[in-house]
């Protein structure tokens, strides 16, 4: 149907979204992923190694930002490729509020008849935290 075609047209903006991340989310992600690196939950350790505070797992930020693509695609299995560069850490203070990850996206290229490329802009505290974030999505 025509509406489906329009959804994947080059230039289409994906619905933007913001995702709060708290210390509790980092503990939960550590458990689910198996990444228990101290810099993601231990403030004392983070300061010792020169970080401003506990930082989110890059992979957690990647996963959360990817929700903008999977929600838009409707079918999470339509994401055939997903790339990010970890450009700045997401600092998550222990203040009951945490950090906010703000994601916008756009269809930038038609790769072939079946697939499009989506580029994401991912910010936290006004800084670009993921660079060159992009996904290849299969048209449904």
């Amino acid at each position: 149907m025509a509406g489906t075609e329009d959804r994947f047209a080059v230039g289409t903006a994906l619905p933007a979204a913001s995702f709060p991340i708290t210390r509790k989310d980092l503990v939960r992600y550590a458990g689910a992923s198996g990444d228990f690196n101290d810099i993601h939950w231990n403030g004392r350790f983070a300061l010792e190694v020169g970080l401003p505070d506990v930082i989110a797992h890059g992979m957690c930020t990647m996963a959360v930002a990817g929700r903008v693509v999977t929600d838009w695609a409707g079918d999470p299995g339509a994401v055939e490729e997903y790339y990010v560069r970890f450009s700045k850490p997401v600092v998550v203070p222990d203040d009951g509020v945490g950090a906010l990850i703000e994601v916008t996206g756009k269809v930038v290229k038609e790769l072939d008849e079946r697939r499009v490329q989506v580029d994401l802009t991912v910010l936290s505290a006004g800084q670009k935290v993921l660079g060159k974030a992009s996904a290849v999505v299969r048209r449904s």
Binding site: G74, G77, E80, E81
Partner: protein, 153 residues
């Protein structure tokens, strides 16, 4: 110190099979705050054309990261793992992972570079079923930061 270039092209032995489980997928989806029904409800996944629930696109990190640790902690390579940060990450999926997949990961060292005292190592991890069906490939850049750069963020 620059890493040994002879590690480029080296393949590590496949990891023991990791069996993907429905509840692990649900746990991962909860952890990333994603309520999508395809991660939880087999019927919702079937409506999208899958035989069972599917895993989120970054779920394979659960399998590829421990596999990459073989390289990171390989004493012969001499990488200072205390200085290692994740530079970038790519996943290429042949299909989504799903419950019952018994997945083995094979890691290859794709490249080793040194720049301004930083050691940069790119690892490619292929994740295949025990039957040999390739499901996902993870490509990661790991950076061991120069010792004198430890204070810079």
């Amino acid at each position: 110190m620059a890493l040994d270039q002879s590690f480029v092209g080296r393949t590590y032995p496949p990891t023991p099979a990791y069996e993907v489980a429905r509840e692990k997928i649900r746990e991962f989806a909860e952890a990333i705050g994603d309520p999508h029904p395809a991660y939880r409800d087999p019927e919702a996944a079937k409506e999208l054309g899958y035989p069972d629930v599917i895993a989120p696109p970054t779920f394979p990190i659960v399998i590829s990261m421990p596999a990459a640790d073989q390289v990171v902690y390989d004493p012969a390579l001499g990488l200072d793992w205390t200085r290692v940060v994740h530079g970038d990450q790519r996943f290429t999926h042949e299909r989504p992972m799903r419950p019952g997949d018994r997945v083995r990961a094979t890691v290859v060292v794709e490249s080793i570079k040194s720049f301004a005292g930083n050691d940069m190592i790119t690892l490619v991890t292929e994740m295949s079923t025990e039957e040999g069906e390739l499901i996902s490939t993870a490509r990661a850049l790991l950076v061991a930061r120069a010792e004198n750069a430890a204070e810079e963020g």
